[in-house]
């Protein structure tokens, strides 16, 4: 889950804001371009954005005896790229910090960096690496989504560890401690999210294969082969 308001020293809160803000702003430019130029993609954008809204509202219990929520950013990162995903993620996080006290305005930069930037970027590169390989299209989506989700919380652990190195064991010590809380809790959720979003992707492929081909998400052969099954 997010870093709560007041739990990052001002310096670190500012650093993450400075890193996150240009990415979100560039995302706005890209988003406007996509909306202006390619109206056909709007329903897809709606689906990807809505999934982030839904999944990040679900707090699910996990093996560690605590709860966390999936991020839902992976599918959007695959279809629209990480910059546009950063904008949607930022809006969700802003909503949650204003109305739910989940994360705060000062830690919004750090939370945006982990959930809306690092996760989607990793998912996007996993997808790019596997896109033209022999690996099944849905398994590619599953891996990209699950790893994007998991990586989000690795970065959350990193942000907290950088701000709060343990006295005895230093940065690595507290990084491992925070990973134990955030990343381990997240593993079952990441698998669940990957499976569900891969299924959603299957429905998109069945309903609207032409637009996915036009956007070049996967090669025509792969999409056609998947539809014949």
């Amino acid at each position: 889950m997010h870093i709560m308001e007041g739990f990052l020293p001002p310096v670190w809160a500012a650093i993450w804001w400075i890193i996150a803000l240009p990415v979100v702003m560039y995302g706005f430019v890209q988003l406007k371009k996509v909306v202006d130029e390619n109206r056909d993609t709007l329903p897809l954008l709606g689906i990807c954005g809505a999934l982030i809204f839904i999944l990040s509202a679900l707090k699910l219990p996990s093996v560690t005896g605590s709860c966390s929520h999936p991020t839902g950013t992976g599918l959007s990162a695959i279809v629209f790229g990480p910059y546009i995903t950063a904008v949607i993620g930022f809006i969700v996080l802003l909503f949650q910090s204003l109305f739910l006290a989940h994360g705060g305005l000062s830690t919004l930069g750090a939370n945006t960096f982990s959930m809306a930037i690092c996760g989607p970027f990793l998912g996007y590169y996993v997808y790019r690496a596997l896109k033209d390989s022999a690996i099944n299209m849905y398994i590619t989506v599953f891996l990209a989504v699950a790893l994007a989700d998991l990586f989000t919380y690795v970065i959350t652990a990193l942000e907290l560890a950088l701000a709060y190195p343990a006295q005895a064991t230093g940065f690595m010590g507290s990084f491992v401690t925070f990973l134990g809380v955030f990343a381990v809790t997240q593993i079952p959720l990441a698998i669940l999210e990957g499976a569900i979003l891969a299924l959603v992707f299957k429905y998109i492929v069945n309903l609207k294969p032409d637009i996915l081909m036009k956007m070049g998400i996967f090669s025509e052969e792969k999409i056609k082969a998947a539809m014949e099954k």
């Binding site: 889950m1 997010h2 870093i3 709560m4 308001e5 007041g6 739990f7 809160a13 329903p43 897809l44 709606g46 689906i47 954005g49 809505a50 999934l51 809204f53 839904i54 990040s56 509202a57 707090k59 699910l60 996990s62 093996v63 005896g65 605590s66 709860c67 966390s68 969700v92 909503f95 910090s97 109305f99 739910l100 006290a101 989940h102 705060g104 305005l105 000062s106 849905y138 919380y153 959350t156 907290l160 709060y164 343990a166 507290s174 401690t177 925070f178 809380v181 955030f182 809790t185 079952p188 698998i191 669940l192 499976a195 569900i196 891969a198 299924l199 429905y203 998109i204 309903l207 609207k208």
Partner: protein
């Protein structure tokens, strides 16, 4: 098999619920609080500052009760659900009329 994929996802969901039920049975004391709460507790462990003293840097509106919070979370999910259904419905209708 036509619904093979749905079946696999269904099994993963059932496994997830199974793991949750197993966790609650072997560990009845588990609080299932959010990882942000757990993480914040570790922060105050490391720094030695009690959690109550971690003052917000920017004043923040906090939902007055768990019920209000649940309501706003439900609104967030409902909004997402409406948009999701709308967009899938749009694509479905587009294919039907094409």
């Amino acid at each position: 098999m036509r619904y093979q994929f749905e079946l696999i996802v269904g099994i993963i969901i059932i496994l997830f619920i199974g793991i949750f039920l197993y966790t609650t049975s072997i560990n009845p004391d588990a609080e299932f609080s959010g990882t942000d709460t757990v993480g914040s507790a570790i922060v105050s462990d490391i720094t030695g500052i009690p959690e109550e003293d971690m003052a917000p840097l920017i004043p923040q509106w906090v939902p007055p009760s768990g019920e209000v919070e649940a309501c706003i979370f439900a609104l967030q999910a409902a909004f997402g659900g409406i948009v999701l259904g709308l967009c899938f419905g749009y694509l479905l209708a587009q294919r039907k009329t094409a």
